[in-house]
């Protein structure tokens, strides 16, 4: 019996050496330097010194009485492969440190290998809950570098599709947030409504997810005829259903106890941490890129920016619920004001010739072949372009060196920055609050780890 035990022991080292991330993990308090300790405790070093002095850990516990556990990569409520290391005093969280990188896919390296036409397929897999908005950010950055104009109809199609995508992303959030708080019927309702939108995506673009629909120069295909009634059906059903969710969740005592007043965030802390999106708006800061720095045709549509008052979990829930209604309002205006015309810019530099003409003329065939194998050259320069994704400001910093591939592609992921507010929000809360905090930040690990 001794032989397997010895082998078992040394095998545990092999495995534990592989899964332990050394310095990236939460160490004992005496093993971390003061600055890092204050960050893990959630102190925001702001103008006038620490807002929260790390030495006065109010639930003062000796170092050996507390327990360091990790809500590891494969955990039901961490929305993907996020690993949170928590120092707990019984039920209360003293220190938190997110360990990320478990879904690092090297997308920025792959972005440098793919040409501008192929790049959208890579970027769309970053934030897999809102693929259209990723492609939009990438394509608009490429168009800005190229300096080409997108026809009016393409602008409105892009706006409508990204609003539909915002609704489907908020619906997934409502579903998983309900599941985390035990309302598993909310999971079924949320996913059921989302299928309506995915069916429309499949009808227009051919795919439910990772659509590769928005490309530099316009959109891949025109809307199918009779799309107005599909979208109207989606708007009416989901608008009615949001009141159902409101009834189901808002009055429920369990939901209120775990959401009202939990994990408050002040505007100053949010700005210092660079937090954007519903998290920032919940603190009362009215900052929505669609309103503040309008892109596409957001200045021609009428919609409200939803702002919270207390900055706690309940505000973030209310903001996302009402943002679904605002997006529906925008989509209704898109249906009425959708201009006619072509859906893709006619500039031959960017747009391949139509399929029919390839059969007849040789030049069209060569043009099509060159465009899809080698791609189009983009004048050297750099650009930073930001759009409003359901999680915050999604920015794309693109440097081009004149060839057909971006020289450097950096995507500013809103979840990556919002996630750093985790240690501030979880500080002093109970273990159950950590679940709601991670859920209301709504991190998508695909875009956090890129």
């Amino acid at each position: 019996m001794s032989e397997p035990v010895v082998r078992a022991a040394e095998r545990i080292e092999i495995l534990s050496a592989e899964t332990s991330e050394g310095a990236q993990e939460l160490q004992r308090r005496d093993a971390t330097n003061v600055n890092e300790l204050s960050r893990e405790v959630g102190a925001v070093l702001r103008l006038d010194g620490l807002t929260l002095d790390p030495t006065s850990i109010d639930m003062e516990r000796r170092d050996d009485e507390t327990m360091i556990i990790n809500m590891g990569p494969s955990h039901p409520s961490t929305h993907g492969v996020l690993r949170l290391m928590l120092e707990l005093d019984g039920e209360f969280v003293l220190r938190t440190k997110p360990v990320i990188g478990y879904l690092h896919t090297g997308m920025e390296k792959t972005g440098e290998v793919l040409s501008y036409i192929q790049g959208a397929t890579n970027v769309t897999r970053m934030d897999y809950l809102s693929p259209v908005i990723n492609e939009l950010c990438y394509s608009m950055a490429a168009e800005k570098l190229l300096g080409i104009e997108v026809p009016e109809r393409a602008v409105w199609i892009r706006m409508m599709m990204s609003e539909l995508n915002r609704i489907s992303s908020h619906l997934v959030w409502m579903a998983t947030n309900g599941m985390d708080l035990g309302a598993s019927s909310m999971m079924i309702y949320g996913l059921r409504e989302r299928e309506l939108i995915l069916a429309f995506f499949e009808k227009t673009t051919g795919l439910r997810l990772n659509l590769n629909y928005v490309r530099p120069g316009g959109v891949a295909a025109d809307l199918p005829d009779g799309w107005q009634d599909d979208v109207l059906v989606i708007c009416d059903t989901i608008f009615a259903r949001t009141f159902e969710y409101d009834e189901l969740l808002t009055g429920q005592p369990i939901f209120r106890n775990r959401m009202v007043g939990v994990a408050p965030l002040t505007a100053e802390e949010a700005l210092a941490l660079g937090v954007t999106g519903p998290l920032l708006r919940s603190t009362g800061v009215a900052w929505d890129l669609r309103r503040a720095m309008p892109y596409l045709a957001y200045d021609q549509v009428e919609f409200d920016v939803i702002v919270g008052t207390f900055g706690d979990n309940f505000d973030r829930y209310a903001i996302r619920l009402n943002e679904i209604r605002e997006s529906i309002r925008i989509i209704r205006q898109c249906i009425d004001m959708m201009p006619r015309g072509d859906y893709r810019s006619q500039d031959p530099k960017v747009t391949p010739p139509p399929r029919a003409r390839i059969g007849e003329s040789m030049e069209a065939l060569i043009h099509h072949f060159k465009l899809f194998t080698e791609g189009f050259q983009v004048p050297p320069g750099e650009v930073y372009l930001a759009v409003e994704s359901p999680r915050g400001e999604l920015g794309c910093y693109m440097v081009s060196d004149g060839t057909a591939k971006p020289y450097r592609l950096h995507v500013r992921a809103p979840s990556f920055v919002n996630l750093q507010a985790v240690s501030l929000l979880m500080r002093g809360g109970s273990m159950a609050d950590t679940i709601t905090v991670v859920s209301t930040i709504d991190p998508v690990m695909g875009e956090v780890d890129r």
Partner: protein, 164 residues
């Protein structure tokens, strides 16, 4: 774009001809001072900080008086009150890129600087926890550098060295 040279500390070249939004090119010594002056001037949020490796595109357009180095740190500041963005590109150095940290001005940049260190090897002096954030702990090398291979496993049935 209004030029901010009036408020920026002396010796900083601000030129907005290069790209649509405003760009500033401080040297490493003026870097923290410039960011501090921007923050006091109303730029409440540091939106993005990333590294760029200009090994193969060394001769990019830079305003005169800025000597290009291989590594560059690009910081994006955002003013919610004035609805304005500014981009600060500081030359970080050739072999041992080293830039002071912005953690004391904007605590939000702590993770972004760790990512720049992890993927590029750019050191940030006085950073509270300069460890890897995305790659496994014992990973050697910095993947996003231009001399770091893509790590592409040759695909058996298609040997063409195309873009994929």
């Amino acid at each position: 774009m209004t030029s901010l040279s009036s408020t920026a500390p002396p010796g900083v070249l601000t030129s907005d001809g290069l790209a649509a939004d405003l760009c500033c090119f401080p040297t490493r010594e003026q870097y923290v001072e410039l960011v501090r002056s921007f923050r006091d001037d109303g730029f409440e949020m540091c939106v993005d900080l990333c590294g760029v490796d200009y090994l193969e595109h060394f001769d990019r357009r830079l305003p005169e008086g800025v000597e290009p180095t291989r590594f560059e740190v690009v910081v994006n500041l955002l003013s919610l009150s004035k609805k304005q963005r500014v981009r600060i590109r500081v030359q970080a150095g050739n072999e041992e890129p080293e830039v002071p940290t912005l953690f004391n001005l904007y605590p939000g940049t702590e993770a972004m600087e760790r990512e720049a260190f992890d993927l590029f090897g750019i050191l940030f002096t006085a950073h509270p926890d300069l460890t890897r954030i995305l790659m496994p702990e014992e990973w050697e090398g910095h993947p996003l550098r231009k001399d770091y291979g893509v790590g592409r496993v040759p695909v058996q049935f298609k040997e063409s060295p195309g873009p994929r």
